[in-house]
């Protein structure tokens, strides 16, 4: 499988602390990959590096063959990489529809259209995605008035609005009602079956095992294991990282 995202030897330091230590990670087109690890293992920092929200200290990152190591986040987003955040980032003062309309593929917006209004095609896409994410009846609500789970869904919808080829999802089920977790899993599988690759950071190991084709485990900033969900869950090093050494 050709790598859509390919990161080699990524290092990120905060002063004396090495948060990400020479990690190699790749995601193929249409693949659904899980990224797990104990608290503080560097998952979100690695996400920030991959999406160029944080600059890396060494290593290289390419997306669809384009070197994005020095690109700015909006340039990476325009190439087709979208992400969500551990702490939900929606525009609380704007309505659900406005949040979605704002998350269009800005690459296609030239200077003239920058001063235009939302067109019919965008409105149709908003409607269809809101329907898909079960948020249609909340389209005129302020995003700040939604529940945590609804805001998670909205953030995923905003990421999908830009028609990404790779979706980085940071804790997509965190703080979400358990009944909604299975709905989110269904939606993500459907998105993935339409050809969108997904890299998923999750604490919910069962969710990752059920959903992902491949799992990467981080511990203390370095890659600890990689393989299918069953291989990784049976790996003694992974068990030790999550539960401590046997007999401790």
């Amino acid at each position: 499988m050709t790598a859509l995202l390919d990161a080699r030897g990524v290092v990120k330091r905060f002063g004396g602390l090495t948060a990400v230590d020479g990690v190699n990670i790749s995601v193929g087109a249409g693949e659904l990959v899980g990224l797990i690890g104990p608290n503080g293992s560097g998952k979100t920092t690695l996400f920030d590096c991959l999406s160029r929200v944080s600059a890396i200290d060494s290593g290289s990152i390419s997306f669809d063959g384009v070197d994005i190591t020095r690109r700015r986040p909006h340039q990476v987003a325009r190439l087709g990489l979208a992400r969500t955040f551990q702490l939900i980032r929606v525009y609380r003062e704007l309505t659900v529809s406005e949040n979605m309309e704002l998350s269009i593929q800005w690459r296609r917006i030239g200077t003239t259209r920058l001063f235009g209004r939302t067109d019919a095609a965008t409105r149709r896409r908003v409607e269809s995605l809101l329907e898909f994410l079960m948020l249609s009846r909340l389209r005129h609500e302020r995003a700040g008035a939604l529940s945590g789970g609804q805001r998670r869904l909205l953030e995923i919808g905003m990421a999908l609005m830009s028609e990404p080829r790779l979706l980085l999802l940071d804790e997509a089920t965190s703080g979400v009602n358990p009944t909604l977790v299975s709905e989110i899993a269904d939606r993500l599988q459907e998105v993935n079956s339409n050809g969108v690759a997904i890299l998923l950071v999750e604490h919910n190991v069962g969710f990752v095992a059920e959903l992902c084709h491949r799992v990467v485990v981080l511990d203390r900033g370095a890659k600890l294991a990689e393989g299918t969900p069953s291989q990784v869950m049976a790996d003694p090093a992974v068990i030790e990282a999550y539960f401590g050494a046997e007999g401790e």
Partner: protein, 351 residues
């Protein structure tokens, strides 16, 4: 799935329901007509028109400040620098002399070039300062304001230094009044239109979460510099008009801190980040100063400070927030006053 906090459905686009927007448009049109016929009324002389023109200048500066401070969330403590730049460029061009007869430019091209110079300077300075965030940006702009004023003061050959420059007098007050009224009406209509465009929505996105906006593909630096340059251009335009009406500029009246303070206070009083807020706030603040504070000469700065505290505590969304369904209702305001309701800006995350 249900929303944890019920709220009235609102149409997408600008804040407020369609009925409220219709009322606001009619009220605005009525006010515009009233202001247009005002000079024809008996008893309205040049002095009153000059005062009204100054009020329109305050409105324009507040509306321009709101583009960066309100819509985009970049609180500019040096905004008056664009006013002074426009005023000085106009004054320099209009008072050019060569050993004898005055060969200064006519007012329209001089004022227009003053606006262009202010806009270009804003673009150059904005490219550097708008990379800074929060208080760092605000302080950098305050520093820019002080630095430019001192450069003007020491460049005596060009600017007249501390003595200033005198412009050729043209004291047609009604003409100035009508020009400014038309420009302010156009500026407010422009900001109303801009807020409804993708560009306007992207500015709000930058204010709410700049990293998130970048990650959604918005080139935040480009948009911030565009809006900052426009604000500089527009404030420079009104600076040029003011210089021509005042017939005199010196560093202490063209570059005066209170112009920025008034823009900030007027916008906050009316409603930060709204289209109508800076207009309402600047008008109320102007007349409070003219009418009320003229009688409290020794205490007017204290009154100004108290007003700012009251706005922040009890009207965080400003005067227009009272009639905006997304803002504070009078009932909610009273609840907060009585300590029975949460402040909208301090409500906890509900997830």
């Amino acid at each position: 799935m249900t929303a944890t906090r019920p709220s009235r459905p609102l149409p997408a686009g600008r804040p407020g329901g369609p009925r409220l927007r219709r009322v606001l448009v009619r009220v605005s049109f009525g006010l515009l007509v009233a202001l247009a016929v005002l000079p024809a009324l008996p008893g309205v002389g040049d002095s009153a028109l000059f005062t009204l023109t100054l009020m329109l200048t305050s409105v324009a500066v507040a509306v321009n400040w709101n583009l960066t401070g309100g819509f985009t969330g970049y609180v500019d403590f040096g905004h008056a620098v664009w006013f002074g730049t426009g005023a000085y460029t106009t004054a320099i061009l209009m008072s050019l002399q060569t050993n004898g007869p005055q060969v200064g430019w006519a007012a329209p091209p001089a004022i227009a070039l003053g606006a262009v110079v202010a806009g270009a300077l804003a673009a150059a300075i904005g490219r550097a300062t708008m990379r800074l965030k929060g208080p760092y940006f605000s302080i950098a702009m305050l520093g820019t304001f002080v630095a430019v004023r001192e450069i003007v003061r020491v460049s005596g050959g060009l600017t007249g230094g501390g003595v200033g420059l005198t412009l050729p007098p043209y004291l047609n007050r009604p003409l100035f009044y009508y020009i400014q009224l038309a420009l302010v009406a156009g500026l407010v209509a422009f900001t109303w239109w801009l807020r409804g465009t993708r560009f306007g929505a992207a500015l709000v996105a930058i204010r709410e979460d700049e990293v998130g906006a970048e990650m959604r593909g918005i080139n935040t630096t480009r948009l911030k510099v565009i809006v900052f340059s426009f604000a500089g251009f527009s404030t420079g335009l009104f600076g040029g008009l003011w210089a021509y009406q005042n017939t005199f500029v010196d560093p202490d009246i063209a570059f005066v801190e209170i112009r920025t303070v008034d823009a900030v206070m007027g916008t906050m009083l009316g409603g930060l980040g709204t289209v109508a807020g800076p207009v309402v706030g600047a008008v109320v603040l102007f007349w409070m100063r003219e009418v009320l504070w003229a009688n409290l000469l020794d205490y007017h700065l204290i009154a100004q400070g108290v007003l700012l505290i009251v706005i922040v505590l009890f009207l965080p969304r400003g005067l227009v927030g009272i009639v905006d369904p997304r803002g504070a209702s009078i009932t909610a305001m009273w609840r907060r006053w009585l300590g029975r309701g949460a402040h909208p800006e301090t409500q906890e995350e509900e997830s």
